[in-house]
Protein backbone atom coordinates (compact mmCIF):
# COMPACT_ATOMS: atom_id res chain seq x y z
CA UNK A 1 0.00 0.00 0.00
CA UNK A 2 2.58 2.54 1.20
CA UNK A 3 4.99 1.70 -1.60
CA UNK A 4 2.30 1.71 -4.27
CA UNK A 5 1.18 5.25 -3.29
CA UNK A 6 4.85 6.28 -3.26
CA UNK A 7 5.42 4.90 -6.75
CA UNK A 8 2.25 6.61 -7.96
CA UNK A 9 3.55 9.87 -6.50
CA UNK A 10 6.91 9.38 -8.18
CA UNK A 11 5.30 8.58 -11.53
CA UNK A 12 3.17 11.69 -11.25
CA UNK A 13 6.22 13.78 -10.45
CA UNK A 14 8.00 12.44 -13.50
CA UNK A 15 4.98 13.16 -15.64
CA UNK A 16 5.02 16.73 -14.37
CA UNK A 17 8.71 17.14 -15.15
CA UNK A 18 8.22 15.66 -18.60
CA UNK A 19 5.32 18.01 -19.27
CA UNK A 20 7.39 20.99 -18.16
CA UNK A 21 10.32 19.97 -20.40
CA UNK A 22 8.11 19.32 -23.41
CA UNK A 23 6.21 22.60 -23.03
CA UNK A 24 9.42 24.57 -22.68
CA UNK A 25 10.90 22.77 -25.68
CA UNK A 26 7.74 23.46 -27.66
CA UNK A 27 7.93 27.13 -26.72
CA UNK A 28 11.61 27.40 -27.70
CA UNK A 29 10.94 25.69 -30.99
CA UNK A 30 7.91 27.74 -31.86
CA UNK A 31 9.45 31.03 -30.72
CA UNK A 32 13.04 30.61 -31.89
CA UNK A 33 13.41 27.79 -34.42
CA UNK A 34 10.24 28.02 -36.46
CA UNK A 35 10.35 30.79 -39.08
CA UNK A 36 7.83 33.66 -38.83
CA UNK A 37 4.74 33.27 -41.00
CA UNK A 38 4.98 34.62 -44.52
CA UNK A 39 1.80 36.73 -44.29
CA UNK A 40 1.11 37.22 -40.59
CA UNK A 41 4.66 37.54 -39.29
CA UNK A 42 5.46 36.85 -35.65
CA UNK A 43 1.86 36.82 -34.39
CA UNK A 44 1.22 33.57 -36.15
CA UNK A 45 3.41 31.87 -33.55
CA UNK A 46 0.37 31.83 -31.28
CA UNK A 47 -0.88 28.94 -33.36
CA UNK A 48 1.61 26.70 -31.59
CA UNK A 49 -0.46 27.19 -28.42
CA UNK A 50 -3.78 27.72 -30.12
CA UNK A 51 -4.20 24.43 -31.88
CA UNK A 52 -2.82 22.17 -29.13
CA UNK A 53 -5.00 23.79 -26.49
CA UNK A 54 -8.24 23.31 -28.43
CA UNK A 55 -7.37 19.75 -29.32
CA UNK A 56 -6.67 18.93 -25.67
CA UNK A 57 -10.04 20.51 -24.87
CA UNK A 58 -11.71 18.18 -27.36
CA UNK A 59 -9.96 15.24 -25.78
CA UNK A 60 -11.15 16.42 -22.38
CA UNK A 61 -14.78 16.53 -23.44
CA UNK A 62 -14.44 13.04 -24.82
CA UNK A 63 -13.19 11.92 -21.41
CA UNK A 64 -16.21 13.58 -19.79
CA UNK A 65 -18.41 11.51 -22.09
CA UNK A 66 -16.60 8.29 -21.23
CA UNK A 67 -16.61 9.01 -17.51
CA UNK A 68 -20.30 9.89 -17.50
CA UNK A 69 -21.26 6.79 -19.40
CA UNK A 70 -19.18 4.56 -17.17
CA UNK A 71 -20.65 6.17 -14.07
CA UNK A 72 -24.24 5.61 -15.15
CA UNK A 73 -23.40 2.04 -16.01
CA UNK A 74 -21.18 1.02 -13.09
CA UNK A 75 -22.13 3.65 -10.49
CA UNK A 76 -18.47 3.89 -9.53
CA UNK A 77 -17.55 7.26 -8.03
CA UNK A 78 -14.11 7.13 -9.66
CA UNK A 79 -15.73 7.53 -13.07
CA UNK A 80 -17.67 10.51 -11.79
CA UNK A 81 -14.46 12.02 -10.43
CA UNK A 82 -12.86 11.58 -13.84
CA UNK A 83 -15.78 13.23 -15.62
CA UNK A 84 -15.78 16.13 -13.19
CA UNK A 85 -12.03 16.70 -13.44
CA UNK A 86 -12.10 16.43 -17.22
CA UNK A 87 -15.00 18.88 -17.47
CA UNK A 88 -13.16 21.51 -15.43
CA UNK A 89 -9.99 21.11 -17.49
CA UNK A 90 -12.00 21.14 -20.71
CA UNK A 91 -13.54 24.46 -19.74
CA UNK A 92 -10.10 25.75 -18.80
CA UNK A 93 -8.51 24.81 -22.11
CA UNK A 94 -11.45 26.03 -24.15
CA UNK A 95 -11.23 29.37 -22.39
CA UNK A 96 -7.49 29.38 -23.14
CA UNK A 97 -8.16 28.75 -26.82
CA UNK A 98 -10.61 31.62 -26.97
CA UNK A 99 -8.27 33.97 -25.18
CA UNK A 100 -5.31 33.03 -27.36
CA UNK A 101 -7.50 33.25 -30.42
CA UNK A 102 -8.71 36.70 -29.46
CA UNK A 103 -5.17 37.86 -28.84
CA UNK A 104 -4.33 36.47 -32.24
CA UNK A 105 -7.40 37.90 -33.87
CA UNK A 106 -6.85 41.48 -32.75
CA UNK A 107 -3.72 42.06 -34.85
CA UNK A 108 -4.63 39.77 -37.76
CA UNK A 109 -8.34 40.49 -38.16
CA UNK A 110 -8.45 43.76 -36.27
CA UNK A 111 -11.17 42.39 -33.95
CA UNK A 112 -11.21 40.37 -30.77
CA UNK A 113 -14.09 38.26 -31.92
CA UNK A 114 -15.98 37.40 -35.06
CA UNK A 115 -19.01 35.18 -35.58
CA UNK A 116 -17.09 32.68 -37.62
CA UNK A 117 -18.58 29.20 -37.31
CA UNK A 118 -15.60 27.68 -35.60
CA UNK A 119 -15.27 30.44 -33.04
CA UNK A 120 -18.95 30.26 -32.25
CA UNK A 121 -18.77 26.53 -31.86
CA UNK A 122 -15.93 26.87 -29.39
CA UNK A 123 -17.88 29.38 -27.36
CA UNK A 124 -20.90 27.09 -27.27
CA UNK A 125 -18.76 24.23 -26.03
CA UNK A 126 -17.58 26.51 -23.26
CA UNK A 127 -21.17 27.35 -22.35
CA UNK A 128 -22.35 23.74 -22.39
CA UNK A 129 -19.68 22.59 -19.98
CA UNK A 130 -19.97 25.69 -17.84
CA UNK A 131 -23.61 24.66 -17.50
CA UNK A 132 -22.41 21.18 -16.60
CA UNK A 133 -20.32 22.55 -13.75
CA UNK A 134 -23.15 24.83 -12.58
CA UNK A 135 -25.56 21.91 -12.54
CA UNK A 136 -23.15 19.88 -10.42
CA UNK A 137 -22.63 22.64 -7.92
CA UNK A 138 -26.30 23.42 -7.47
CA UNK A 139 -27.54 19.95 -6.54
CA UNK A 140 -27.20 19.16 -2.85
CA UNK A 141 -26.98 15.36 -2.75
CA UNK A 142 -23.67 14.16 -4.25
CA UNK A 143 -25.03 11.02 -5.87
CA UNK A 144 -27.91 12.91 -7.44
CA UNK A 145 -25.57 15.64 -8.65
CA UNK A 146 -23.29 13.01 -10.13
CA UNK A 147 -25.95 11.22 -12.14
CA UNK A 148 -27.63 14.44 -13.28
CA UNK A 149 -24.27 15.74 -14.45
CA UNK A 150 -23.52 12.41 -16.12
CA UNK A 151 -26.70 12.69 -18.16
CA UNK A 152 -25.69 16.16 -19.28
CA UNK A 153 -22.17 14.98 -20.05
CA UNK A 154 -23.62 12.40 -22.43
CA UNK A 155 -26.27 14.60 -24.01
CA UNK A 156 -23.79 17.41 -24.48
CA UNK A 157 -21.21 15.26 -26.20
CA UNK A 158 -23.72 13.57 -28.49
CA UNK A 159 -25.05 16.98 -29.40
CA UNK A 160 -21.67 18.40 -30.42
CA UNK A 161 -21.68 16.96 -33.97
CA UNK A 162 -25.19 18.31 -34.55
CA UNK A 163 -24.18 21.73 -33.25
CA UNK A 164 -21.03 21.59 -35.36
CA UNK A 165 -23.04 20.77 -38.46
CA UNK A 166 -25.72 23.37 -37.89
CA UNK A 167 -23.27 26.12 -37.07
CA UNK A 168 -21.18 25.42 -40.16
CA UNK A 169 -24.21 25.23 -42.47
CA UNK A 170 -25.47 28.41 -40.90
CA UNK A 171 -22.29 30.07 -42.06
CA UNK A 172 -21.87 28.33 -45.41
CA UNK A 173 -25.35 27.49 -46.66
CA UNK A 174 -26.53 30.90 -45.69
CA UNK A 175 -24.27 33.85 -46.26
CA UNK A 176 -21.05 33.84 -48.27
CA UNK A 177 -18.13 32.60 -46.13
CA UNK A 178 -16.42 35.63 -44.67
CA UNK A 179 -12.74 36.21 -45.39
CA UNK A 180 -12.08 35.84 -41.71
CA UNK A 181 -12.36 32.07 -41.66
CA UNK A 182 -9.41 30.73 -39.62
CA UNK A 183 -9.02 27.71 -41.88
CA UNK A 184 -8.05 30.18 -44.58
CA UNK A 185 -4.70 30.12 -42.81
CA UNK A 186 -1.87 29.27 -45.22
CA UNK A 187 -1.92 25.53 -44.59
CA UNK A 188 -0.43 24.64 -47.98
CA UNK A 189 3.11 25.92 -47.85
CA UNK A 190 3.79 24.93 -44.29
CA UNK A 191 7.47 25.06 -43.41
CA UNK A 192 8.60 21.67 -41.92
CA UNK A 193 10.02 23.52 -38.89
CA UNK A 194 6.48 24.82 -38.25
CA UNK A 195 5.13 21.28 -38.26
CA UNK A 196 7.79 20.01 -35.85
CA UNK A 197 7.17 22.97 -33.55
CA UNK A 198 3.46 22.25 -33.68
CA UNK A 199 3.96 18.56 -32.92
CA UNK A 200 6.34 19.21 -30.03
CA UNK A 201 4.09 21.77 -28.35
CA UNK A 202 1.14 19.48 -28.95
CA UNK A 203 2.94 16.66 -27.13
CA UNK A 204 3.79 19.15 -24.40
CA UNK A 205 0.16 20.16 -24.02
CA UNK A 206 -0.93 16.51 -23.88
CA UNK A 207 1.58 15.74 -21.12
CA UNK A 208 0.59 18.90 -19.25
CA UNK A 209 -3.07 18.02 -19.63
CA UNK A 210 -2.67 14.54 -18.22
CA UNK A 211 -0.54 15.88 -15.40
CA UNK A 212 -3.23 18.39 -14.42
CA UNK A 213 -5.90 15.73 -14.85
CA UNK A 214 -4.10 13.38 -12.49
CA UNK A 215 -3.74 16.18 -9.95
CA UNK A 216 -7.39 17.22 -10.19
CA UNK A 217 -8.48 13.61 -9.98
CA UNK A 218 -6.30 13.14 -6.92
CA UNK A 219 -7.94 16.16 -5.29
CA UNK A 220 -11.31 14.52 -5.80
CA UNK A 221 -10.02 11.28 -4.33
CA UNK A 222 -8.62 13.11 -1.32
CA UNK A 223 -11.98 14.78 -0.71
CA UNK A 224 -13.57 11.33 -0.54
CA UNK A 225 -10.81 9.99 1.69
CA UNK A 226 -11.18 12.91 4.09
CA UNK A 227 -14.92 12.30 4.22
CA UNK A 228 -14.36 8.59 4.82
CA UNK A 229 -11.88 9.31 7.60
CA UNK A 230 -14.13 11.82 9.32
CA UNK A 231 -17.00 9.37 9.01
CA UNK A 232 -14.87 6.70 10.67
CA UNK A 233 -13.91 8.98 13.52
CA UNK A 234 -17.59 9.97 13.76
CA UNK A 235 -17.50 13.76 14.18
Amino acid sequence: MERSTKTVKRRKGMLGVLALVAVVAGLCWSLLVAPPDAYQGEVQRIMYLHLPSILTAYLSYFLVFIGSGMYLWKRDNKDDLLAHAAAELGVLFTALTIIEGSIWGKPTWGVWWTWDARLTLTAILLLIYAGYLMLRSSIEDEQRAASAAAILGILGFLDIPLIHMSVYWWRTLHQPPSILRPDKAPWENVHPAMLTALTISFVGFLLLYFYLLSLRYRVGEMRQEIKALRLERGV
Binding site: G131, E140, S147, A148, I151, L155, L162, M165, W170, L173
Partner: protein, 225 residues
Protein backbone atom coordinates in the same frame (compact mmCIF):
# COMPACT_ATOMS: atom_id res chain seq x y z
CA UNK B 1 -47.55 -2.30 -22.85
CA UNK B 2 -47.60 -1.24 -19.21
CA UNK B 3 -45.27 1.51 -20.36
CA UNK B 4 -47.97 3.00 -22.55
CA UNK B 5 -50.74 2.35 -20.01
CA UNK B 6 -48.83 4.17 -17.30
CA UNK B 7 -47.84 6.97 -19.65
CA UNK B 8 -51.51 7.36 -20.53
CA UNK B 9 -52.48 7.52 -16.85
CA UNK B 10 -49.92 10.22 -16.11
CA UNK B 11 -50.80 12.20 -19.21
CA UNK B 12 -54.50 12.05 -18.35
CA UNK B 13 -53.71 13.25 -14.84
CA UNK B 14 -51.69 16.19 -16.14
CA UNK B 15 -54.31 17.09 -18.71
CA UNK B 16 -56.98 16.96 -16.02
CA UNK B 17 -54.98 19.29 -13.78
CA UNK B 18 -54.40 21.60 -16.71
CA UNK B 19 -58.04 21.49 -17.76
CA UNK B 20 -59.19 22.31 -14.21
CA UNK B 21 -57.44 25.66 -14.16
CA UNK B 22 -56.09 26.47 -17.56
CA UNK B 23 -53.13 28.33 -16.00
CA UNK B 24 -50.28 27.15 -18.09
CA UNK B 25 -52.13 27.11 -21.38
CA UNK B 26 -53.66 30.57 -21.08
CA UNK B 27 -50.60 32.21 -19.57
CA UNK B 28 -48.33 30.62 -22.16
CA UNK B 29 -50.61 31.80 -24.91
CA UNK B 30 -50.76 35.37 -23.61
CA UNK B 31 -47.07 35.39 -22.86
CA UNK B 32 -46.23 34.22 -26.36
CA UNK B 33 -48.31 37.02 -27.82
CA UNK B 34 -46.87 39.52 -25.38
CA UNK B 35 -43.35 38.58 -26.45
CA UNK B 36 -44.17 39.41 -30.05
CA UNK B 37 -45.02 42.92 -28.92
CA UNK B 38 -41.97 43.21 -26.70
CA UNK B 39 -39.73 42.22 -29.59
CA UNK B 40 -41.59 44.60 -31.84
CA UNK B 41 -40.96 47.47 -29.43
CA UNK B 42 -37.40 46.41 -28.74
CA UNK B 43 -36.14 46.66 -32.32
CA UNK B 44 -38.78 48.80 -34.03
CA UNK B 45 -38.86 47.22 -37.45
CA UNK B 46 -39.91 48.78 -40.71
CA UNK B 47 -42.72 46.61 -42.14
CA UNK B 48 -40.55 45.32 -44.96
CA UNK B 49 -37.87 44.01 -42.61
CA UNK B 50 -40.42 42.10 -40.55
CA UNK B 51 -40.66 39.37 -43.15
CA UNK B 52 -36.97 38.60 -42.71
CA UNK B 53 -37.11 38.69 -38.93
CA UNK B 54 -40.49 36.94 -38.67
CA UNK B 55 -39.14 33.39 -38.15
CA UNK B 56 -36.61 34.53 -35.58
CA UNK B 57 -39.21 36.49 -33.63
CA UNK B 58 -41.75 33.69 -33.73
CA UNK B 59 -39.30 31.03 -32.71
CA UNK B 60 -37.72 33.08 -29.93
CA UNK B 61 -41.20 33.71 -28.58
CA UNK B 62 -41.86 29.96 -28.59
CA UNK B 63 -38.48 29.23 -27.04
CA UNK B 64 -39.00 31.51 -24.05
CA UNK B 65 -42.64 30.61 -23.60
CA UNK B 66 -41.75 26.95 -23.76
CA UNK B 67 -38.94 27.36 -21.25
CA UNK B 68 -41.26 28.97 -18.75
CA UNK B 69 -43.69 26.17 -19.46
CA UNK B 70 -40.97 23.64 -18.68
CA UNK B 71 -40.34 25.27 -15.32
CA UNK B 72 -43.94 24.29 -14.55
CA UNK B 73 -43.74 20.80 -15.99
CA UNK B 74 -42.95 18.98 -12.73
CA UNK B 75 -44.64 21.48 -10.40
CA UNK B 76 -47.46 19.13 -9.39
CA UNK B 77 -44.88 16.45 -8.60
CA UNK B 78 -42.81 18.85 -6.55
CA UNK B 79 -45.45 19.81 -3.98
CA UNK B 80 -46.07 17.25 -1.25
CA UNK B 81 -43.19 15.14 -2.57
CA UNK B 82 -45.55 13.63 -5.12
CA UNK B 83 -42.51 12.73 -7.20
CA UNK B 84 -41.46 10.42 -4.37
CA UNK B 85 -44.94 8.94 -4.52
CA UNK B 86 -44.35 8.16 -8.20
CA UNK B 87 -40.85 6.81 -7.63
CA UNK B 88 -42.27 4.63 -4.88
CA UNK B 89 -44.86 3.21 -7.25
CA UNK B 90 -44.23 0.47 -9.84
CA UNK B 91 -43.97 3.14 -12.53
CA UNK B 92 -41.71 2.69 -15.51
CA UNK B 93 -39.55 5.83 -15.68
CA UNK B 94 -39.82 5.79 -19.44
CA UNK B 95 -43.57 6.23 -19.06
CA UNK B 96 -43.00 9.37 -17.03
CA UNK B 97 -40.72 10.71 -19.75
CA UNK B 98 -43.21 9.98 -22.52
CA UNK B 99 -46.12 11.42 -20.57
CA UNK B 100 -44.35 14.64 -19.68
CA UNK B 101 -42.95 15.19 -23.16
CA UNK B 102 -46.34 14.50 -24.69
CA UNK B 103 -48.05 16.89 -22.27
CA UNK B 104 -45.50 19.57 -22.99
CA UNK B 105 -45.85 18.99 -26.72
CA UNK B 106 -49.62 19.31 -26.59
CA UNK B 107 -49.42 22.58 -24.69
CA UNK B 108 -46.84 24.05 -27.03
CA UNK B 109 -48.73 23.02 -30.17
CA UNK B 110 -51.95 24.52 -28.85
CA UNK B 111 -50.16 27.76 -28.09
CA UNK B 112 -48.40 27.84 -31.43
CA UNK B 113 -51.53 27.08 -33.43
CA UNK B 114 -52.94 30.32 -32.03
CA UNK B 115 -49.83 32.48 -31.94
CA UNK B 116 -48.65 31.83 -35.50
CA UNK B 117 -51.82 33.03 -37.23
CA UNK B 118 -51.97 35.92 -34.79
CA UNK B 119 -48.42 36.80 -35.72
CA UNK B 120 -49.35 36.68 -39.40
CA UNK B 121 -52.17 39.13 -38.77
CA UNK B 122 -50.27 41.45 -36.44
CA UNK B 123 -47.38 41.91 -38.82
CA UNK B 124 -49.66 41.41 -41.85
CA UNK B 125 -47.41 39.00 -43.70
CA UNK B 126 -49.06 37.96 -46.93
CA UNK B 127 -48.06 34.41 -47.69
CA UNK B 128 -50.86 32.45 -45.94
CA UNK B 129 -50.44 29.60 -48.37
CA UNK B 130 -47.07 28.82 -46.79
CA UNK B 131 -48.54 28.23 -43.33
CA UNK B 132 -48.76 24.42 -43.74
CA UNK B 133 -45.04 24.13 -44.52
CA UNK B 134 -44.21 26.44 -41.65
CA UNK B 135 -46.41 24.44 -39.29
CA UNK B 136 -44.52 21.32 -40.30
CA UNK B 137 -41.18 22.95 -39.50
CA UNK B 138 -42.56 24.29 -36.23
CA UNK B 139 -43.89 20.86 -35.35
CA UNK B 140 -40.50 19.23 -35.82
CA UNK B 141 -38.75 22.00 -33.92
CA UNK B 142 -41.25 21.87 -31.08
CA UNK B 143 -40.92 18.12 -30.81
CA UNK B 144 -37.18 18.44 -30.40
CA UNK B 145 -37.68 21.19 -27.86
CA UNK B 146 -40.15 19.19 -25.78
CA UNK B 147 -38.06 16.03 -25.76
CA UNK B 148 -34.81 17.70 -24.81
CA UNK B 149 -36.67 20.10 -22.53
CA UNK B 150 -38.27 17.29 -20.57
CA UNK B 151 -34.90 15.67 -19.98
CA UNK B 152 -33.29 18.90 -18.81
CA UNK B 153 -36.32 19.74 -16.67
CA UNK B 154 -35.89 16.34 -15.05
CA UNK B 155 -32.18 16.68 -14.33
CA UNK B 156 -32.58 20.20 -12.94
CA UNK B 157 -35.57 19.06 -10.91
CA UNK B 158 -33.78 19.08 -7.56
CA UNK B 159 -31.27 21.82 -8.40
CA UNK B 160 -31.35 25.05 -6.44
CA UNK B 161 -31.60 27.90 -8.96
CA UNK B 162 -33.87 25.73 -11.10
CA UNK B 163 -35.64 28.39 -13.16
CA UNK B 164 -32.27 29.78 -14.22
CA UNK B 165 -30.37 26.54 -14.58
CA UNK B 166 -32.93 24.90 -16.84
CA UNK B 167 -32.52 27.31 -19.78
CA UNK B 168 -28.81 27.60 -19.13
CA UNK B 169 -28.45 23.89 -19.72
CA UNK B 170 -31.13 23.61 -22.37
CA UNK B 171 -30.38 26.43 -24.81
CA UNK B 172 -26.86 25.46 -25.87
CA UNK B 173 -28.06 21.94 -26.59
CA UNK B 174 -31.00 23.42 -28.48
CA UNK B 175 -28.90 25.48 -30.87
CA UNK B 176 -29.20 23.02 -33.77
CA UNK B 177 -32.98 23.14 -33.44
CA UNK B 178 -33.03 26.91 -33.16
CA UNK B 179 -30.85 27.38 -36.21
CA UNK B 180 -32.55 24.70 -38.26
CA UNK B 181 -36.10 25.89 -37.65
CA UNK B 182 -35.38 29.55 -38.16
CA UNK B 183 -33.24 29.15 -41.28
CA UNK B 184 -35.72 26.65 -42.65
CA UNK B 185 -38.60 29.05 -42.15
CA UNK B 186 -36.65 31.88 -43.70
CA UNK B 187 -35.92 29.88 -46.82
CA UNK B 188 -39.50 28.70 -47.12
CA UNK B 189 -40.68 32.28 -46.73
CA UNK B 190 -38.17 33.54 -49.25
CA UNK B 191 -38.29 30.83 -51.90
CA UNK B 192 -41.86 29.72 -51.19
CA UNK B 193 -40.88 26.04 -50.92
CA UNK B 194 -38.50 23.70 -49.20
CA UNK B 195 -35.54 23.67 -51.58
CA UNK B 196 -32.15 23.68 -49.99
CA UNK B 197 -34.14 23.86 -46.75
CA UNK B 198 -34.33 20.08 -46.96
CA UNK B 199 -30.88 19.78 -45.45
CA UNK B 200 -32.05 21.66 -42.37
CA UNK B 201 -35.21 19.56 -42.20
CA UNK B 202 -33.13 16.41 -42.19
CA UNK B 203 -31.03 17.81 -39.38
CA UNK B 204 -34.22 18.55 -37.42
CA UNK B 205 -35.63 15.07 -37.92
CA UNK B 206 -32.31 13.50 -37.02
CA UNK B 207 -32.20 15.59 -33.85
CA UNK B 208 -35.73 14.59 -32.85
CA UNK B 209 -35.12 10.90 -33.43
CA UNK B 210 -31.78 10.84 -31.62
CA UNK B 211 -32.99 12.59 -28.50
CA UNK B 212 -36.30 10.78 -28.34
CA UNK B 213 -34.52 7.43 -28.29
CA UNK B 214 -31.87 8.64 -25.85
CA UNK B 215 -34.64 9.98 -23.65
CA UNK B 216 -36.54 6.71 -23.40
CA UNK B 217 -33.30 4.82 -22.84
CA UNK B 218 -31.70 6.92 -20.11
CA UNK B 219 -34.74 8.37 -18.37
CA UNK B 220 -34.46 5.70 -15.69
CA UNK B 221 -31.24 7.31 -14.52
CA UNK B 222 -32.47 10.80 -15.24
CA UNK B 223 -35.34 10.55 -12.81
CA UNK B 224 -33.55 8.50 -10.17
CA UNK B 225 -31.11 11.37 -9.93
Amino acid sequence: MTLLRQAYLLLRKDLLLEWRRRDSLLTMFFFGTLLLFVFHFAFDMPPDKVVELAPALLWLAFLFTGTLGLAQLFQAERDNHCLDALLLSPLDRGALFLAKSAFNLILMLLVESVVIPLFWILFNLGSWNLLPQLFLVTLLGTLGFCVLGTITAAITLRARARELLLPLVLFPLMIPVILATIRCMEMVLRTGSFGDAIAWLRLLIGFDVIFLTIGVLIFDWVIES
